[in-house]
């Protein structure tokens, strides 16, 4: 009887431990799955940007990306009257090089359509932010060379139903930038 009780308690403990480990796997896996779904199934577009202020924090080095679409006149006009943390929807249209420009701005979520390309922005202090696009992590030491490229940087982003993720950095000729090569050039 006593032995059975010990066995039961031990099995219960194993069960809780396996449950706790599974919870970690499910939460981390779910987080990764959400990001991968956007990156794999989204539409790709290119946005003009200007990297500023490389930061060196515990998480590593990253560049902050300021997007031309955030500074667009139409976007700023709509954002100026909106409360903090409200969402704003930026409709994009691509030119012949595939670079996205603002075609329209809305405060209501656009209807899902295969041809529509739109990004959700967040209003803070009367300005529009694109929280999932504004930082790009680079190897230590590569932040400054990227910042020096200033107006010659574009970012290839993947967009799915308003959710956008950075895919890669592109140069003025829209060729991919490999941050590792910048690092080696500056050695």
């Amino acid at each position: 009887m006593g032995r059975n009780k010990i066995m039961d308690s031990s099995m219960k403990k194993h069960g809780i431990f396996i449950g706790a480990i599974l919870a970690i796997i499910i939460v981390l896996g779910g987080f990764i799955y959400t990001q991968e779904t956007i990156l794999r199934n989204g539409e790709t577009t290119i946005l003009k940007t200007r990297p500023v202020d490389p930061r060196d924090l515990l998480r590593g080095e990253y560049v902050i990306l300021n997007y031309a679409i955030s500074a667009d006149e139409k976007v700023q006009k709509v954002a100026a009257g909106m409360p903090n943390e409200s969402s704003l929807y930026i409709m994009l249209v691509e030119d012949e090089n595939g670079i996205g420009y603002v075609s329209d701005v809305s405060t209501t979520r656009p209807a899902s359509s295969k041809n529509a390309l739109w990004i959700t922005g967040e209003v803070s202090g009367g300005r529009v932010h694109l929280p999932t696009l504004e930082q790009y992590f680079v190897p230590e030491g590569a932040g400054y060379p990227i910042e020096k490229m200033r107006d010659d940087i574009h970012v290839e982003v993947v967009v799915k139903e308003g959710h956008a993720r950075v895919k890669q950095l592109l140069d003025a000729q829209l060729n991919p930038i490999d941050p590792k090569s910048l690092l080696e050039k500056n050695k």
């Binding site: 403990k13 706790a20 990156l39 998480r59 990253y62 992590f137 190897p139 950075v166």
Partner: protein, 365 residues
Amino acid sequence: MKIKDIETLTQRWLSAGAISSEQADYIVADAKNYIADKSGVKFISAIMYMGATALSLGALLFIASNWEYMGDGFKVMLSFLLPLIPLIFAYWHIFIKQTDTVLAKAAHILGLVLVGGSIVLIEQIYNLQSDTPAVLWIWNLLTIPFLFIFKKSENIVFTTLLTGSAILFSMFDFFDKSRVGENVGIVLITIVTLLYAYLMYTIGGALRNVSLWEQGGRLLRIGGGIIASIMLFLMTFEWYARMVVSSHSHDYYRNYADPVSWQPLSVVLNLVFLGFLVFALFHATKYEEYQFAFSTVRLFGLYLLVKYFTLFYGMFEMSLFFIVGGILFIAGGWFLEKNKSVLVQYMKNNSQSVINNGPQQNYGQ
């Protein structure tokens, strides 16, 4: 207790004829072994925990610095394995092999730290902006089950720190987004901190008689007491009362400067602090937390010192200031010494009643 104290006590018992010289030798020798073992384990534990912290920081920094050189699949796999390997290692050691080594304890703390590290790493892989309060809450929720699995004091300390940080960062985030004034924010933070300290003390009190959680409960009670005393001490300063009265007023500067508006509150806050010290002293002696009891007496001394400098500096001439200060400090020292003797006497009486009534009287309170 120091070995010198044990030697003095055994000599006293020997002279009183309570023990034989063999028993005295045995007690001293055994105490020496026990203290040596205990300090050895403490030192090894401290080294192991420092190692666990350095290792987790090092692993995260290494990955952060070299992430560009790793494939995406490898990075994703790392983010899973980082916390799971040490947690499974610790569980296997403690519950399957039944060897509760310091290495296993360090591994379990390392695993708990790396759960947060993995969340941050995934954010970095996908270039996402870190939402600190959300990260802290998710980290907390994912590590709480291990508190009930490992049932170690270290888990209680870890969860308490993580929950406290999550609450604090959520408040900062809320103040930032809702543009709450700085002084309103500080007042709210002090209130929430005091509530958190009270919660820690209450949970610690509830765990007093639960054998598995006894040590963790004690840490919670003392932690709650320390947090509350520091916070209440900070609230006795004049700037705090000024800030409270001006925080909800339209005429901020007038209220901030007007003594009539902030002085009554300052007096109340000082009385609350003194009342708390009495309460803490009473409870610390009741539950034989003598170190904490002496700390409250020391805090009272510090309070007197600070009040003398902050309240009287502008009132007297320099020479008079030091003369009065000198007299006050000597009187204060005498008062503290006298209080210490009263406290020691009270503890002696308390221990005597425990001996007379049996030890269960003391635990059941």
